[in-house]
């Protein structure tokens, strides 16, 4: 079996306690559902001395709606998000497409937002990586994807995040400096080794969505080989509003490309206009032009890029359908 190296587990019952432990204990990490972190520890990618479990924190999960703003506790399971009628349809759909049923029961929305970037050359066992000669992201000096010794381009692979960014979501957190919040569009950086722009010791407490506009529509399109379990080879989140057949807002975010999810430019071309065939084609083309899939994930990059056009088109068609 893949045995983990020894560590101590802590089961704090409050956010404050969890943050305190994280700050005090060197070599500690948070673990929520564990579906991302434990396989990574088994692969020797992390060697923490302490794991601070978030599973026993009271009130860490749950969805509430106050004045139209939706607040989702970081500990809310993906399964609950997927089946919630309080969250926008695109987010529910994205959550429902993560991994398999058991992962969604275990995995949390906070864990998904904080998911480590992924790469075929990295998410492998210690023995495998030794045979490879390691890579820049862990123990090595060289990136096997782009040949660089400076940059890791491991792919952002969390399914809910493109939609969350399209929805203009923010995260609330408690860090070493206290409580804070940040718009998710500012959360990620283009560096696969350290993709989240927060102090490592920061605990995410909630994901917050602004009130949905009139005529809200949203969806998520995912490319993967099998209809379950597989991580995305491409993900596109779409959110906006269509009133009387006219687009009033539109935002699209693509992922499973680079460390940072890509907020697609030029989507406002649709604002004030109907999403007719020509407009859909135009936006799909804009999407295609902006995405550059890498060899960090399986599947031919050229095909995945082609899929960006197809999936963008299909996503937009879903929005039109939802608005009718």
């Amino acid at each position: 079996m893949l045995r983990m190296q020894p560590f101590e587990v802590h089961l704090p019952e409050t956010v404050a306690e969890a943050c305190k432990l994280r700050s005090e204990l060197a070599d500690s990490l948070f673990v929520a559902g564990g579906t991302d972190l434990l396989p990574n520890i088994k692969h020797g990618l992390f060697t923490p001395k302490h794991l601070i479990s978030l599973s026993h924190i009271d009130g860490f999960d749950g969805i509430s709606v106050v004045d139209g703003a939706i607040r989702i506790g970081a500990g809310t399971s993906l399964d609950v998000v997927a089946n919630s009628t309080d969250v926008p349809p695109g987010l529910a759909k994205a959550a429902s497409l993560v991994a398999g049923p058991q992962h969604r029961k275990m995995g949390t929305l906070g864990g998904n937002v904080m998911l480590d970037t992924r790469c075929l050359f990295y998410n492998q066992s210690t023995q495998w990586r030794e045979a490879l000669g390691y890579c820049l992201k862990a123990e090595g000096t060289f990136c096997h994807v782009i040949g660089s010794d400076k940059r890791c381009v491991a792919a952002h692979s969390a399914d809910t995040v493109p939609v969350l960014l399209a929805l203009d979501a923010a995260v609330e957190f408690v860090g070493p400096e206290g409580e804070g919040a940040v718009n998710m569009r500012q959360l990620y950086r283009q560096e696969g080794r350290d993709p989240v722009q927060l102090d490592d010791r920061t605990l995410l407490t909630a994901i917050v969505l602004p009130p949905l506009p009139a005529g809200h529509v949203s969806t998520y399109r995912k490319v993967r080989t099998r209809a379950a379990i597989d991580f995305p080879q491409l993900g596109i989140g779409l959110a906006g509003a269509i009133v009387d057949g006219v687009v009033t807002e539109l935002s699209a975010v693509a992922s499973a490309l680079m460390p940072q999810p890509k907020v697609l430019k030029g989507m406002d071309a649709a604002v004030g206009k109907p999403l007719d065939e020509a407009m859909i084609e135009h936006l799909a083309e804009r999407c295609f032009k902006q995405v550059r899939p890498q060899r960090s994930l399986h599947g031919d990059p050229a095909w995945r890029r082609h899929m960006a056009r197809v999936e963008m088109r299909r996503g937009l068609e879903e929005l039109v359908e939802a608005s009718q």
Partner: protein
């Protein structure tokens, strides 16, 4: 750190010493001794470890045990009502939803959670709920049935014999439950890793990080000095080479002077626990001299290519990487090609795939105080393992006992000895304590022995009526690092092709190359699945050229009863025409082929496969299968047989045969199998031989006992023996059917009249096959036949192929148990479809496997697998027991070409490379548009 904590498991508070860094699965299995929950990948990819946490299905391999503190854990052991299995467990048993059973504890927990919320789930809802639980055996179809049956509120225990026996029989042809099913459905069955022996140590094998290198030196001193390390070994300690084929023993238990693939074993340790063993192998220093990897089989065959093996097993220097070549010709190929009305030729490529049983290989070795060695191993060939252990360890066979515990899937992947079996023996001897080695999923990929990648230069010709007049095939097999069954594979790739489609003439050359990758070997449909891809897709092209319907052209060429293939293999019965009729009708072919809307299509393909081989792996005149049957006054019969039940149900098959013969109900028949101390020799579970061979042996033994039982009753009743009838549970007077004697009393009478209730039976190979060198290879007592129709849709914008159905009709001679035969058909179809659509063993150019795990190597989930339709065709072959022949491998073959042909019908592109990924399909569609 370890902490004493209370876990609530199955409603009971258990105080357990929990190591903080252990997962819930580790604590359940190794601390709480609840081994029902299984481990198949250990990192969230397979679902075998699913348990309920506060009622929700979770993966216990990705849950920290500490996180379960204060929550309700429920495992497969905790859902029964006392000793009565839960409805869902009974439903899995009754419907035949489990074969090897290894995925089942997890599957059943997911199903139980679904039923808790939804008492009437639809098929799509079941597919969704079970989509995180991989099953490699069943094709999921019977699992859907089981969940729906459980939902209907199955409350009564179900009779063991269900379904209607075939006319003229009392058990044969029924749907009798599998003997081992309920044990597996309840988590009670012990697989190799479930065995914990007192004082047992854990072994680990250090594996090469290089694809090709010379070992200069190995320094084990640091490992030996580590606390908790009890034994260390290196390859030089076992200098005798072995190989499952006695003519080609090119492997050593551990490498001695050279490593030949990334993952090749170099040294091994045994320590007090697995973690210490892991640290110990990491402390072993190996000095390697790197050599150039050899990855492309064609390049490997060129002169001057670096040699994978410098010498053969006799120490003679090798000149090339050619490990086997076969060249054979039958009939006038050139003349036939010349006069052909239609011809197709080109290059096809078949990709490599692996078995991926959900259970990883595991073995335990223990030396008894009297100097005897016992090895428990997840093997499908205990007899060959027994022989090779004796040879390599230099211990007499009389001093070795091999036991195969319940096996969690094999498919050919456990059909030869592996390094762990030798290592547990040596390490246990050195340490003086039992040693277990359990492969990681990654090691299972390295052990491999899966489907050979093959490249074909293939030509086929037909006359104007569609008769196949000539086939020519030049085949290159990528063999990987060792011979394995390669000698046979090289033949099979050519020998087994000409049937059930008749060839007018045939010529092939088949060359297997050594490369520095994990060794290829026999995967379900050994050697003969691959060439059916060019053959069956090219036949469709011929049909197109000739303006014929694809089923019609196959009818023209379909073999009939008693016909011999051009390679000299005689099929006493061949039901291919019936199979074609069946799938044509069931699929609605005539309304569909060429008539479905754009993007949707149907395709057909056929195959034929052996039911065992006439030629045993090592030449001998002893029976290939033997069965010993004994009874006692309790009314119990016990069958002793060396057969390996790998989930396919061979134990149940033996019981069915003996029940049919003797009238003793299956409930009172016990099967002891695959234990070399207790059971007579059987060669093992490979080449689909057990039903025909061991079934015949069991029939003989049962028949002998029946004769004695009938005589005893006849004497008692003072009637002629012809007047004594046998039915389940009793003997009766055929003239006076109310006059009966319970079978137990019949056994008493028999023992009184003619002594000890003991009989035996055997199966000897008949000498058959072509009269030429190699003509015995592929010669089998009987050949099955299969036809598939696949229906797919292809998304023209993405290239994505969606499988809607496969109708499979299979001629198994006679179904001894309809449920088991359907299960073999469905499982085969699934496995074929999975390799057609997604599976691919790919390697980097340094020889590193690109993703040796169940996340990167994608086997289809329930959501990717439609309900499969299996139809049984019976032709009653004189060679098999009651007419039975094989059902476990033949039905895989047609899936790949049938899907390829369906893709053509849908979007008009011909694929000659696998798997049919969206990338490949889209590229073909785009190339077609560009050409138009």
């Amino acid at each position: 750190m370890k902490e004493l904590r209370t876990l609530s498991i199955n409603g009971e508070d258990r105080e357990l010493a929990i190591p903080h860094h252990w997962t819930l699965l580790e604590v359940l299995r190794y601390e709480a001794q609840l081994t029902g929950s299984k481990q198949g990948c250990d990192k969230g990819d397979c679902g075998a470890c699913t348990v309920l946490l506060d009622g929700e299905p979770v993966l216990s391999c990705c849950t920290l045990a500490m996180q379960a503190v204060g929550r309700e854990v429920r495992t497969i052991e905790g859902i029964a009502n006392g000793v009565t299995p839960a409805a869902i467990q009974q439903a899995f048993d009754v419907t035949g939803a489990l074969q090897c059973g290894f995925c089942q504890p997890g599957m059943i927990m997911s199903a139980a959670a679904l039923l808790e919320k939804n008492d009437d789930p639809s098929i799509p809802e079941i597919q969704e709920a079970l989509s995180g639980n991989l099953c490699r055996c069943t094709g999921y179809t019977k699992i859907y049935e089981a969940v729906q049956l459980a939902a209907k509120g199955l409350k009564q225990p179900v009779e063991r014999v269900t379904g209607t026996p075939t006319e003229g029989f009392t058990v044969i042809g029924s749907r009798a439950r599998k003997l081992d099913a309920i044990g597996k459905a309840t988590g009670a069955t012990q697989y190799a890793d479930d065995i914990q022996l007192p004082g047992m140590l854990h072994g680990k094998i250090l594996r090469s990080p290089h694809a090709h290198a010379r070992i200069r030196s190995i320094d084990t001193s640091a490992a030996e000095a580590m606390k908790g390390v009890k034994a260390v070994m290196v390859g030089a300690e076992l200098p005798t080479s072995f190989g499952v084929i006695p003519w080609t023993p090119d492997e050593h238990a551990l490498c001695i002077d050279k490593v030949r693939y990334i993952g090749d074993g170099v040294a091994a340790v045994a320590a007090v626990d697995e973690e210490t063993a892991n640290r110990a192998i990491a402390a072993i220093e190996v000095d390697y001299e790197l050599l150039e990897p050899v990855l492309d089989p064609r390049a490997a065959l060129e002169e001057g290519a670096p040699l994978v093996h410098d010498e053969d097993w006799k120490g003679r220097p090798r000149k090339t990487n050619l490990c086997k070549k076969v060249e054979l010709s039958f009939g006038e190929v050139d003349a036939a090609l010349e006069s052909a009305a239609a011809k197709v030729s080109g290059t096809w490529r078949y990709s490599g795939s692996t078995h991926a049983p959900i259970e990883p290989h595991c073995a335990i070795g223990r030396w008894e105080p009297d100097g005897r060695l016992t090895v428990w191993s997840a093997t499908q060939v205990s007899h060959y393992l027994h022989r090779e252990l004796a040879k390599v360890l230099d211990v007499p066979e009389t001093k070795i006992r091999v036991i195969q515990p319940a096996l969690g899937g094999a498919f050919g992947g456990k059909s030869e000895p592996f390094d762990l079996e030798f290592c547990v023996a040596v390490l246990a001897k050195k340490a003086g304590r039992p040693v277990k080695i359990l492969y990681t999923r990654e090691e299972v990929f390295y052990a491999h022995r899966g489907r050979h990648p093959m490249e074909f230069d293939f030509t086929i010709a037909a006359d104007a009526e569609g008769n196949i007049t000539a086939v020519e095939n030049d085949i290159v097999l990528d063999g990987g690092s060792y011979h394995s069954f390669g000698l046979v594979t090289t033949y099979y790739a050519g020998q087994l092709l000409p049937g059930p489609i008749r060839f007018g003439s045939y010529r092939y050359r088949s060359r297997r190359a050594y490369t520095t990758k994990p060794a290829c070997g026999p995967k379900r449909g050994h050697g003969s699945v691959q060439p059916r891809f060019p053959l069956e897709t090219a036949i469709d092209e011929l049909a197109e050229q000739l303006g014929m319907d694809p089923i019609a052209i196959r009818r023209v060429n379909g073999m009939v009863d008693g016909e011999e293939t051009i390679t000299g293999m005689k099929a006493e019965t061949c039901g291919i025409l019936q199979c074609l009729d069946s799938v044509e009708a069931a699929s609605g072919w005539l309304e569909k082929h060429g008539k479905l809307p754009d993007g949707r299509g149907v395709g057909v393909a056929t195959s034929m496969y052996i039911s065992g081989t006439n030629y045993p792996i090592y030449p001998n005149k002893m029976p290939q299968s033997s069965v010993v049957l004994r009874g006692d006054r309790s009314g119990t019969l016990t069958i002793f047989a060396g057969t390996n039940d790998i989930g396919q149900g061979s134990d149940s098959m033996l019981a069915i045969v003996v029940a049919e013969e003797t009238g003793v109900p299956m409930d009172d028949i016990i099967v002891v199998s695959a234990d070399t101390d207790l059971t007579p020799v059987d060669l093992g579970a490979y080449s689909s031989r057990i039903t025909l061979m061991a079934g015949t042996a069991a029939k003989e033994a049962g028949g002998k006992l029946r004769k004695r039982m009938v005589e005893a009753v006849a004497a008692q009743w003072e009637v002629p023996t012809e007047q004594v009838g046998v039915r389940p549970g009793e003997y009766y007077d055929t003239d006076e059917p109310e006059k009966v004697l319970p079978v137990r009393e019949v056994l008493w009478l028999t023992e009184s009249a003619s002594g000890t209730l003991a009989e035996h039976g055997g199966y000897w190979t008949k000498d058959r096959g072509g009269d030429y060198r190699g003509g015995t290879i592929g010669a089998s007592p009987a050949y099955s036949a299969t036809a598939h129709v696949a229906e797919v849709s292809v998304d023209e914008n993405t290239g994505k192929v969606t499988l809607h159905n496969i109708w499979a009709a299979h001629d198994c001679g006679r179904a001894l148990n309809r449920t088991l035969v359907e299960g073999q058909i469905e499982g085969s179809v699934y496995m074929g479809a999975s390799e057609a659509l997604t599976e691919d063993m790919t390697y980097r150019d340094d020889g590193l496997h690109f993703g040796p795990n169940l996340l990167d190597y994608r086997i289809l989930t329930s959501l990717d697998t439609p309900l499969l339709e299996a139809d049984i065709v019976e032709t009653v072959d004189p060679a098999g027991p009651y007419g039975a022949k094989e059902a476990g491998e033949g039905p895989l073959h047609p899936a790949i070409p049938a899907i390829a042909n369906a893709i053509f019908d849908a979007v008009g592109v011909r694929l000659r490379e696998m798997p049919f990924t969206p990338e490949r399909v889209l590229a073909a569609i785009q190339a077609k548009h560009a050409a138009e």
